[in-house]
């Protein structure tokens, strides 16, 4: 990876860092923060689902672990917010490695992998809904206490900047992956596992690396979520909503592309807000639109919005053209 490779991610990150200061009102600022959290979760999903071709239906398992770890370590163990966040990421990655170890050792892929990740997330959701440490069904509340060391900012613009920086770091990580041997091996495994193995790629190790990275990034999104809303319950942390939004954003934005998840998160949530504004307070309409967009993307633009942009002539260096590949499990 050369410094030039980082030019585009850095430029996008800088531009996003400025947006909170151009006079956004409170609602827009909240939307921006939420977009960044979803973009981060989607970025994580994309590492495994886009680059690795292993579509997960249970990224909530990682998101929720990051979120709960951040909240519990602060409230129950008295740790600072920043170390809690780092530990949250590490724990999320560990959960990813655990699920990956079990699934990949048994050779699960395709639909089977999607279903087992969903089952793990559901087990965590039900368990955290009745466990004592997570506050059970009542949920867990982080005390409001402004200060840099508590990662709580009275001026919410700074939290937006923090979220943007996290997205920027994830962009750099994925750009590194694209350039590194690891990324090449991962794509080789996605395209043809047997051929990759025949070429000497350690398939199991590559998949383990992908799910660990993927889980860590999505866990970071969960940590930010906990820190932003200061409240968690089982449905928020481990509910299927986040698995679905991460997957939708990554696919609509562009599977296996650097900027796809970010584009997808911004477009999806933007469209969602517009729909809600047009239709009014009917619950669920935005998700109906998301579902339609997902099906349209799979049917007509397997490369997502990033792929469409490329087809229309916006050339982006380093973008890799891909489609959904299905290995029968």
């Amino acid at each position: 990876m050369t410094p030039r490779d980082l030019a585009a991610p850095a430029a996008v990150t800088l531009a996003l860092c400025v947006t909170p200061f151009v006079g956004l009102d409170g609602a827009m600022l909240n939307l921006l923060i939420f977009m960044m959290i979803i973009a981060l979760a989607a970025q994580g999903w994309n590492i495994l689902g886009g680059f690795g071709g292993l579509a997960s239906f249970g990224h909530a398992a990682f998101f929720g672990t990051g979120a709960y770890a951040t909240a519990i370590l602060q409230t129950k163990a008295g740790l600072g917010a920043w170390p809690s966040l780092l530990l949250g990421v590490a724990l999320g990655a560990a959960v990813g490695a655990f699920i990956g170890f079990l699934s990949f050792r048994s050779g699960l892929r395709g639909s089977y992998f999607a279903l087992i990740t969903l089952a793990f997330a559901e087990v965590l959701r039900i368990a955290s809904n009745s466990a004592e440490i997570t506050g059970g069904a009542a949920g867990i509340l982080v005390r409001l206490d402004y200060g840099f060391w508590n990662m709580q900012f009275e001026d919410r613009r700074w939290f937006a900047v923090l979220a943007v920086i996290c997205v920027g770091l994830s962009l750099a990580l994925v750009r590194w992956m694209e350039r590194a041997r690891f990324g090449a091996r991962l794509i080789a495994v996605r395209e043809n596992e047997e051929a990759a193995r025949a070429l000497g790629v350690d398939v199991f190790r590559v998949k383990m690396g992908a799910i660990t990275l993927s889980a860590g990034v999505t866990a970071l999104a969960g940590c930010l979520y906990a820190q932003n809303f200061l409240f968690l319950d089982a449905q928020v942390a481990y509910g299927s909503w986040i698995s679905i939004e991460a997957l939708f954003a990554a696919i609509v934005g562009g599977l296996g592309t650097l900027f796809g998840p970010l584009i997808g998160a911004v477009v999806l949530l933007g469209v969602g807000e517009i729909t809600k504004a047009v239709v009014g307070g009917v619950p669920g309409v935005d998700l109906v639109v998301f579902g339609v967009l997902l099906i349209l993307t799979v049917a007509f633009a397997p490369g997502g919005l990033a792929g469409l942009a490329e087809r229309l002539g916006f050339k982006r260096p380093g973008a890799k053209r891909i489609g959904l590949k299905g290995g029968r499990a």
């Binding site: 699960l108 395709g110 639909s111 089977y112 087992i116 009745s130 009917v282 579902g291 997902l294 099906i295």
Partner: protein, 290 residues
């Protein structure tokens, strides 16, 4: 400890709950067996069917069991249309694409229902919901006895369709060898959609059996779909006998674990079985090794 009588009743009730689970799983496993796809929208279809039964009762005053004559054909039509005009064309046969298209479809249905009906739970009042059937010293709930009977009848009908009719032969031919089937003049796209229709019709029956004892809200199907997947995986993807046995087994397990661990943790037992089966023997009890 519980008295043997309570345990026996719980297990029998589990068996009857399992029969309805088996019906839901039958549709899922049939579609998997023929199209080799995982239909993630199966649960959402069940919710649609349950709302259909509820509407027939609240708007037309129809008895839930009687409403089958409306709901079952309607569900078959819905299943046919969904596969023929949405899932088939949109996914072009790629495994992951089908999974995603059916996921998208389930999100659309689930939230469309939420927008239309809000998240209130709806139930049907019948005279027989709390009636019991006495079997020696045991008291069994009447709707569950009906459920068990109807599930077994449906399984037999399904077996007859698959083994004794031309459509059934065509379905089995497509499941075995798609190209060969199209070469002898079978319209594969049509047969795929017919399979989907039969699978969805099973949901119509299941919905009519469930409504007297259960409630419906837009997320109801989602709770069933994971149970159905567990059953299908346990019984072996694509195996009809497996779905029946798996369904009854899971019903008993859920009933037993609810008795000992309480309702919320009863569900965990199912997921843990699901994970264990996927990890240890993904081909299930009755599935052939691929």
């Amino acid at each position: 400890m519980y008295s043997p009588l309570i345990v026996a009743e719980a297990l029998l009730n589990g068996l009857m709950l399992g029969a309805v689970y088996a019906l839901v799983a039958l549709g899922l496993t049939l579609v998997y067996g023929v199209l080799h796809i995982v239909n993630f929208a199966h649960g959402a279809f069940l919710t649609v069917a349950m709302f259909g039964v509820w509407l027939a009762w609240s708007q037309l005053g129809m008895d839930p069991y009687l409403s089958m004559i409306l709901i079952v054909p309607a569900m078959a039509a819905l299943g046919y249309a969904a596969q023929r005009w949405i899932i088939g064309p949109a996914s072009r046969g790629a495994d992951n694409s089908i999974l995603l298209v059916t996921l998208g479809l389930s999100i659309i249905i689930q939230n469309g229902l939420l927008a239309l009906f809000s998240s209130d739970t709806r139930t049907i009042d019948t005279d027989y919901a709390f009636q019991v059937v006495e079997l020696g010293p045991l008291l069994l709930s009447f709707p569950r006895v009906v459920g068990l009977g109807a599930a077994l009848v449906t399984a037999v009908v399904l077996w007859v369709i698959l083994n004794r009719t031309d459509v059934g032969r065509a379905i089995r031919a497509v499941a075995r060898e798609k190209l060969g089937a199209s070469l002898v003049g079978i319209d594969v796209g049509h047969i795929y959609a017919v399979t989907f229709a039969i699978g969805s019709a099973c949901l119509g029956v299941a919905a009519a059996l469930l409504m007297p004892v259960f409630y419906v809200e837009p997320n109801t199907g989602a709770a069933f779909v994971l149970v159905a997947f567990t059953i299908v995986v346990l019984g072996g993807m694509g195996s009809v006998v497996g779905a029946l046995v798996g369904g009854l087994l899971i019903g008993v397990v859920e009933s037993a674990s609810s008795l000992w661990f309480g309702d919320s943790l009863g569900q965990i037992g199912i997921f843990l079985i699901f994970i264990a089966v996927l990890l240890i023997r993904p081909t299930g009890l009755f599935g052939a090794r691929q």
